[in-house]
């Protein structure tokens, strides 16, 4: 394999990893921008979506129906989560809501262990898609190709939604100024619920893609992606949706090339590197790559 081909192969790896990160991050950023809530349970929505898809499929539903229904279940779980756990806490300290989301993680993950069992389960329902496409000396797995295309499509749709629809503009308005948006009559609850729902749909979809790549699901599968998405969100500028996308890709590329370019003894330090990067970004450019407003200290 030539070094250019090597580079391109790693590039493709990074692109598909980055796509999934981007997809998870958008949902996280959407909720954060509106509520200033870092929802660590977002990753568990991926888990719930994946399990739902698998169970519905095993119950005999056609693949695509199972996928649609599973993703919808993930969305609905997001709404329930908001209603039961986060709405009662609205307006309380950021730290409290952050901790609440951790508690929700404990709740959902242990619940999943109880209901689904702790064991890893194979997730092969997309295996009928032939594994690889050969492009010259490059091999592109079809799941990767689908991931990238699907993510890009969703990103474009989301951008249009946010830009053009009243609900999308309302979300940006609420993110911009919560008080003023209430004063102009934006129905806050509806906007928040919508943000949770859409974000959770994306999480469900990301769960599907993530599980299809890994070929397996397990109850604790959500934590690593959500932590990564969270880093991606900070890199991109928390709350900014285009930033979330960029952050996702930056992280995907950083991770892949960190492993690709360094000797094996250092590969293990990948996550440390990711977080050093995060801390540096927080210090140097707390608003992230695309974050517009600097954090102003109000006196």
């Amino acid at each position: 394999m030539s070094s250019t081909a090597y580079f391109f192969q790693q590039f493709i790896n990074a692109l598909s990893l980055g796509s999934i990160y981007a997809l998870v991050t958008i949902g996280l950023a959407m909720v954060f921008s509106i509520l200033r809530l870092i929802n660590f349970a977002h990753g568990d929505l991926m888990m719930i979506g994946s399990y739902a898809i698998l169970m519905l499929f095993n119950a005999g539903l056609p693949v695509w129906t199972a996928i649609l229904a599973g993703v919808a279940i993930s969305g609905i779980t997001g709404i329930i989560m908001e209603r039961l756990c986060y709405r009662p806490l609205r307006g309380s300290a950021e730290m409290n809501t952050l901790l609440t989301s951790f508690a929700v993680v404990v709740l959902l993950e242990n619940g999943a262990v109880l209901f689904f069992g702790p064991n890893t389960q194979p997730f092969g329902i997309l295996n009928f898609i032939q594994p690889t496409l050969a492009v010259g000396s490059l091999l592109i797995s079809k799941i990767d190709a689908i991931t990238v295309v699907l993510t890009l499509a969703i990103l474009i749709l989301t951008a249009l939604f946010i830009k053009k629809t009243t609900l999308g503009i309302s979300m940006r308005a609420v993110a911009d100024d919560l008080t003023a948006s209430q004063l102009v009559g934006i129905p806050l609850n509806r906007v928040i619920v919508s943000a949770f729902f859409i974000g959770s749909l994306f999480a469900g979809l990301a769960g599907l893609l993530w599980s299809a790549r890994a070929g397996k699901i397990f109850p604790l599968m959500g934590f690593i992606p959500v932590v990564k998405a969270f880093v991606a969100a900070v890199i991109g500028g928390f709350g900014s949706i285009p930033g979330a996308v960029i952050g996702g890709y930056v992280l995907g590329f950083a991770e892949v090339f960190f492993v690709a370019l360094l000797p094996p003894d250092f590969q293990g330090y990948r996550d440390a590197f990711v977080f050093v990067l995060l801390i540096i970004i927080l210090l140097v450019r707390p608003q992230g790559i695309l974050g517009a407003k600097a954090m102003e200290r109000r006196i």
Binding site: N13, N110, P122, P131, S141, Q267
Partner: protein, 386 residues
């Protein structure tokens, strides 16, 4: 306020005391089972517990031991060393004859010292570090063979039978088992004259191994085999991604492969040309009954090799109780140490004098089109020191 709090504390303390002072029956043989039923280790330890439960049922159906029923006291260690260290004390307080469970070295090291202090033997059902018994003391027994044995077997099989002269190694840095396995493998493979081209690592929980695989692909000369040292949860994904990236080189590994997940996650097309060492061929005659009974009891075949290990470890203890003709922990320990020719599902266990790692032959399984096929039994000619 203060009053409410003090009342609450009193109430909690009372309940606390009552909760653990139930009557203890003396007409059963009690064996403690510690497993991580929740948390990161649960996928190894739950099957192990199922194995124990199956063994228990069989033993009690056959009349128990020493004329008494056998009773298990199960505690969840939550994959957390502090919890393990606590529950082991709790179980020891209930007068058990011996303990079993746990599939990870670190977890055993958190739980077993308390048993050692009390002189109660602990048979590790799944941890395979050969130095474990020396680290804990004379109460700790391994049910499976040590990693050095299976790694040496894999190396000899790869070098002699597969004719491999060079290897690329990928291993999980976060686990004791995966680290030791590849180290012993490299020791023996190098000793035979094989070349280690390079090593790459990942961490438990990773789901993306393409960066590592792509760097393998970029090597000027590809190795004859890949030695991938992985636990049961990652191996399917790794195989899938290796094959997806167009690498058809044979893959060799250890008993972590012994799970249906390997074939199911990777798919039958990818799960081909894979060879691994393990304790038992689940499709062989000797194990057929075990698999069937397991299926009957739990509604599905054993999730992985740990089910059989848990089953054997428990039977091993009961066997020792029978041999000792006593449920006294000291006697059971002596009997365990003297175990000879105990036939389990996972092979025949002999503990040579002073050595509490069994000398067992290693089974080599070949995976072809997702099917596990018994290849051969190997007793390595040379075993790296623990």
């Amino acid at each position: 306020m203060q009053k409410k709090i003090s009342i609450a504390i009193l109430a909690i303390a009372t309940v606390f005391l009552l909760a653990f002072s139930g009557p203890v029956g003396a007409d059963t043989v009690k064996i403690g089972v510690i497993e991580n039923l929740t948390g990161s280790m649960a996928s190894l330890d739950q099957p192990s517990l199922n194995g124990v439960k199956l063994a228990l049922k069989e033993i009690n159906d056959a009349g128990g031991v020493l004329g008494k029923k056998v009773e298990i006291i199960v505690r969840d260690g939550k994959s957390d060393p502090a919890t393990l260290a606590t529950v082991v004390e709790e179980i020891l307080g209930k007068g058990v004859s011996a303990l079993t469970g746990l599939s990870d070295t670190t977890m055993v090291l958190a739980a077993a010292p308390a048993a050692q202090r009390m002189g109660v033997s602990f048979v590790s059902s799944g941890a395979t570090s050969p130095s474990l018994p020396d680290e804990v003391g004379d109460c700790l027994f391994l049910e499976p063979f040590g990693d050095n044995v299976q790694a040496a077997a894999a190396a000899e099989y790869a070098y002699n039978d597969l004719g491999a002269k060079s290897v690329w190694v990928l291993y999980d840095k976060a686990m004791d088992y995966t680290y030791l396995l590849q180290r012993y493998f490299c020791d023996r493979f190098g000793g035979l004259g094989g070349a280690i081209i390079s090593k790459a690592t990942y961490q438990t929980g990773d789901t993306d191994f393409r960066a590592q695989i792509t760097s393998l692909k970029s090597k000027k000369t590809l190795p004859d085999i890949l030695f991938i040292s992985s636990g049961p949860d990652e191996i399917g994904t790794i195989v899938k991604q290796v094959r997806d990236m167009g690498i058809k080189i044979p893959i060799v590994g250890g008993d972590g492969y012994d799970t249906p997940l390997l074939a199911k996650v990777a798919g039958p097309a990818a799960a081909t040309d894979i060879y691994f060492t393990t304790h038992v061929a689940l499709d062989s005659k000797g194990t057929k009954a075990f698999v069937e009974n397991y299926n009957k009891m739990f509604g599905h075949p054993p999730e992985n090799g740990f089910a059989a290990l848990g089953y054997d470890a428990f039977k091993l203890i009961v066997n020792a109780v029978k041999n000792a003709n006593s449920a006294d922990p000291k006697a059971v320990k002596t009997a365990l140490a003297a175990t000879q020719g105990f036939k389990g599902v996972t092979g025949t266990i002999n503990y040579p004098k002073g050595i509490r790692v069994p000398q067992k032959s290693v089974t080599i399984i070949k995976v072809d089109g997702g099917k596990f096929i018994f290849e051969k039994e190997v007793m390595p000619s040379e075993i790296p020191a623990p």
